[in-house]
């Protein structure tokens, strides 16, 4: 009899967002969780068929967690086999025939590459690349023959019926001594396995002894694989139009020489073999080939496909909704809930949040009004104004009123009355000369900034919750989105399990707690493992603190400032490398298009922002807004990397603005992001 302490099977719950890293997800799950990015906002001008069958190599570029591995693995042979399993009545061979491609996934494992290079370079500095080429060709051939053997095993083909002629052709076409005596495909397979074993043994033993690397044959890339493929297409008619894809993942882990080697392979590809390369941003990889004079040219040698390029926010939300739907469907306890929106809610209720922060208090009004000299020293006047503009049920509105008062050049009491009337006209939907401006200020420009400001004045943290917020924080990155959802569900399971299972929804407090925890731990974790981690950590903390200062400005002059600019060309090579690493790990993100560097400057340049997922660390806005961008000199960037010494940029911005602007900058928003999106 089960006792009270024994957990029942029915009580167990697997977090549907637990599987985060495509590297460790099994093929069957890759397939079941697959949400096609093709022909969606994620990969706009690329369809699945073209990606599979295009002969020109394709470079798939995207940030960490953007889905490169999932995409490459989706086209790999193990997942193809799963697809065949799912299509009842269709044989593996017919699935390969209909898809017209087989992909072989190779991950550029950092530790493997580092050790391989060290050992073989130590043996022969000039030849280690050819040893790697040999290893790669053997691995590729092994996988090609494994497919043949699989097809034979499931009786889609009969190797015996063509084996003799197949082997004779191979022997005739390749000049590899150990193969000349082969009589079966298994013999060739054994040769490959023996050679791979020899490499392993050599790697494990040679460095300690003085043995020289002497493989029985040194294969060039495609020297055997191309011949195998050509003959497969002759003897297995169904495969005669098949493209063999070498799927190379984490290209940026390769040494420069190996990148050049693969670039050469891209430039000189074969008829039936093509490459698909997954890599992060361009700054950390080379375009050179091994002959040092030829460089890769986009569209000529390869197609560059950038994940999430130009993806609209609504498309991101749609994609995330689909990702979440697939995962929630798997969970028996959540499959009937109203999807991710039901679980997390959609948008934040800023009015409610501000009411909870202020709880009828007027400290925020006092502090904002004190920003104007003529009011700060006159307590009686301040009280008079507060009595006019106050609206305890709507702290955002009363704060806007206060801002109107301190910005007006008119008499403060008249300004207060004017603000109040505009507010009432807005709420009562009546006419007033300033009601249009009021609507814009209330519904668009200031809602978010005022919420952050009020939380700062009352020493509270701005709450981050709701699907809309999470989509903003994830900024198009599926792994970040899945990770945040996973953390939120874990938090709910711990703090509000009963409520969670009863309502199939999660409170905003639980969401906020989980998001804050995720934000900090993701930041610290990435900084702890990446190259230049300490410097990148300092830089981001300093830049984030500058933005936090802008968000606490009681005059709310530069609302939601969260972008910065600097001239990368002015940086030293070392600093540029650090910036490139930050970009490749998506610690900082460059806006896709060059834009006007700041509201008051009529010059275009690159605009950067901190990964949106880190916004909760600094209590800053995650929305993309235009207007003022904080400018940093190369000296400031250098200083910020070295230590935690936040630059005082708000006062500098004041000086800059007062010398250039002729109006308050609040009208300079570029309206990219709609309020409450």
């Amino acid at each position: 009899m089960p006792n009270n302490f024994t957990s029942q099977l029915t009580d167990t719950f697997d977090n549907p967002f637990d599987d985060i890293n495509a590297n460790i997800i099994e093929p069957q799950k890759i397939l079941s969780l697959w949400c096609t990015p093709f022909n969606t906002g994620v990969l706009k001008d690329m369809d699945e068929k073209k990606f599979r069958t295009q002969k020109l190599p394709i470079i798939l570029q995207g940030s960490r967690g953007s889905g490169k591995t999932t995409i490459l693995k989706y086209f790999s042979y193990p997942v193809l086999k799963e697809r065949a399993n799912e299509r009842n009545g269709q044989s593996l061979l017919s699935v390969i025939k209909s898809e017209r491609s087989i992909g072989f996934y190779f991950r550029c494992d950092d530790s493997f590459v580092n050790t391989f290079k060290s050992i073989f370079e130590n043996q022969s500095p000039d030849k280690w690349l050819s040893f790697f080429e040999h290893y790669l060709e053997l691995s590729f051939c092994k996988q090609i023959i494994s497919v043949l053997m699989d097809l034979n095993e499931v009786q889609n083909i009969c190797i015996k019926s063509f084996e003799y002629k197949f082997i004779q052709n191979i022997i005739k076409e390749v000049n590899i001594a150990p193969i000349s005596s082969a009589t079966t495909i298994q013999d060739i397979f054994n040769f490959i396995l023996t050679e791979l074993r020899y490499i392993d043994t050599y790697k494990n033993e040679s460095i300690f002894s003085n043995v020289i690397f002497t493989p029985s044959a040194l294969l060039k890339l495609y020297s055997l694989s191309d011949v195998l493929i050509n003959n497969i297409s002759i003897f297995v008619a169904e495969l005669n139009k098949t493209i063999y894809l070498i799927l190379i993942d984490e290209f940026e882990n390769l040494t420069e020489e190996l990148q050049q080697f693969f670039n050469t392979a891209i430039k000189f590809s074969k008829q039936s073999i093509s490459l698909r390369i997954g890599r992060r941003s361009e700054g950390i990889v080379t375009k050179a080939t091994i002959n040092q004079t030829e460089y890769l040219r986009e569209k000529h040698d390869y197609f560059l496909v950038e994940i999430n390029k130009g993806q609209k926010f609504e498309d991101q939300k749609k994609y995330f909704t689909e990702i979440a739907f697939k995962r929630l469907c798997i969970s028996s306890k959540l499959c009937h809930s109203d999807g991710i929106l039901g679980l997390l809610g959609d948008k934040e209720d800023l009015d409610e949040e501000c009411r909870e922060i202020c709880r009828g208090r007027q400290e925020h009004l006092k502090q904002i009004l004190s920003e104007k000299n003529s009011i700060s020293s006159n307590a009686e006047l301040k009280d008079q104004i507060i009595n006019i503009i106050k609206n305890p049920n709507n702290p955002i509105a009363e704060t806007i009123n206060a801002l109107w008062v301190i910005r007006s050049k008119d008499d403060v009491l008249i300004s207060a009355q004017n603000a109040k009337e505009a507010m009432l006209a807005f709420f009562n939907k009546t006419a007033h000369p300033n009601v249009k401006k009021y609507i814009n200020d209330y519904e668009n420009k200031y809602r978010y900034s005022i919420t952050v400001l009020l939380s700062s004045i009352y020493k509270r943290k701005k709450l981050y919750y709701g699907f809309n917020t999470i989509a903003h924080l994830a900024d198009g990155n599926p792994r970040t989105f899945i990770n945040i959802c996973r953390t939120i569900i874990s938090d709910a399971l711990f703090y509000e399990k009963n409520r969670f299972f009863e309502t199939k929804s999660i409170s905003k407090e639980s969401q906020n707690r989980a998001i804050s925890e995720f934000s900090m731990s993701e930041f610290e974790n990435v900084c702890s493992i990446i190259k230049y981690g300490n410097k990148i950590r300092n830089l981001i903390l300093n830049v984030g603190n500058v933005f936090a200062e802008f968000h606490k400005d009681k005059k709310v002059r530069y609302p939601e400032t969260n972008q910065f600019v600097f001239n990368k060309l002015e940086l030293s090579d070392d600093l540029r490398n650090i910036i490139n690493t930050s970009e490749s790990w998506s610690m900082i993100i460059k806006r896709e298009k060059t834009q006007r560097v700041s509201a008051s400057i009529d010059r275009k340049g690159d605009i950067y922002y901190i990964n949106r997922a880190f916004s909760p660390i600094f209590n800053i806005s995650y929305r993309i807004r235009g207007g003022v961008n904080v400018r940093f000199s190369s000296d400031e960037i250098t200083r910020m990397m070295v230590s935690l010494s936040t630059e005082r940029k708000l006062s500098q911005q004041d000086k800059l603005e007062s010398s250039t602007k002729n109006d308050i900058q609040l009208s300079l928003f570029n309206q990219e992001d709609r309020p409450n999106e």
Binding site: D110, F112, N114, I119, L196, D200, K203, F208, S528, K531
Partner: protein, 308 residues
């Protein structure tokens, strides 16, 4: 059930430590680096050759130089690329080693421990090793005693430890990660290594009770984020680590191991990987390390190892 019969003793109870051909140890600013060396010499140990592994340019203390006067001393740089370290070992005359070797691994870094033992396995396969390890009285925590331990400075690079690459075209195996005090090391391993199942191993018993909790605090994120199985091994017993791996992995299974825990545990991993060629050992190596990570010495163990 134990797979091997083993011998481990407190140094004070070891009566067979009277003579050795070669004594290998690392000279650092940590007190325990010379603890067993001085103890054994003061108790009449006869040594022919001394190999000192140095990780810094620091001057050798006069008290140690005094000892060195009487022996054939070779200094090897440890603060170099792993491959260069092995090249230095290989350059030594093979006769230097003799048939009885003592290694004090207290302050030798884990990658170098693996390299040295693998070298002996390949070059002097029948050699008997006596491995010494001084358990620290405590570790250096720069701030609060839970998360502030930091042994490395600078950037980490992942390596397969030389001689322990396993079978390279079988990469998607179970990962056995022995947790240490530094979450960053474990995160680096899981970020860069593809694996099927993650097995996290903590120390039980640990040197002191709180140490196993410190490991959990520092690896909490990993334990939360990844579906993993939790296993335990004693912090001071390489043979039990061997047995744990033998029971969990078996004798003919591909696996990847990251020994981020104590050195006795790493020694156990090393012995297991030496006799299981399908096992791959990975380790994040830093450009630079802190010179001193421990305070004083609690006690010293001697492990008798046969590399046959």
């Amino acid at each position: 059930m134990n797979s091997i019969i083993y011998h481990m003793n407190n140094i004070e109870q070891c009566c067979d430590l009277t003579a050795t051909d070669t004594f290998i140890f690392s000279l650092t600013t940590e007190k325990r680096s010379t603890k067993s060396f001085e103890y054994l010499l003061n108790n009449g140990l006869s040594i022919k050759n001394i190999i000192v592994i140095k990780y810094t340019e620091d001057k050798i203390p006069d008290s140690i130089l005094e000892y060195f006067k009487h022996y054939n001393v070779t200094i090897i740089r440890g603060d170099t690329l792993p491959i260069k370290f092995i090249m230095q070992i290989k350059k030594l005359n093979i006769d230097i080693w003799g048939s009885k070797i003592l290694i004090d691994i207290s302050c030798i870094k884990i990658p170098e421990i693996f390299s040295i033992i693998k070298y002996f396995k390949v070059i002097i396969p029948g050699v008997d090793l006596q491995v010494l390890y001084s358990i620290p009285y405590d570790y250096n925590f720069s701030k609060e005693p839970f998360t502030s331990y930091r042994s490395f400075i600078g950037d980490l690079s992942m390596y397969e430890l030389f001689g322990f690459s396993g079978v390279s075209h079988e990469t998607n195996n179970d990962l056995y990660l022995f947790m240490g005090f530094e979450g960053a090391l474990a995160l680096k391993v899981t970020e860069d290594t593809a694996y099927k199942e993650l097995n996290l191993i903590n120390n039980l018993p640990s040197f002191y009770q709180k140490y196993k909790d410190i490991s959990i605090v520092n690896n909490y994120q990993l334990m939360q984020n990844q579906k993993s199985c939790m296993l335990y091994t004693p912090a001071d017993n390489p043979f039990e680590t061997y047995n744990l791996l033998e029971n969990s992995i078996g004798s003919d299974t591909y696996a990847c191991i990251a020994p981020l825990s104590t050195k006795p545990v790493a020694l156990g991993v090393c012995l297991f990987a030496l006799s299981h060629e399908k096992v791959r050992v990975v380790y994040p190596i830093s450009q630079k390390y802190n010179a001193s990570n421990t305070v004083d010495t609690y006690k010293t163990y001697v492990y008798n190892i046969s590399l046959q």
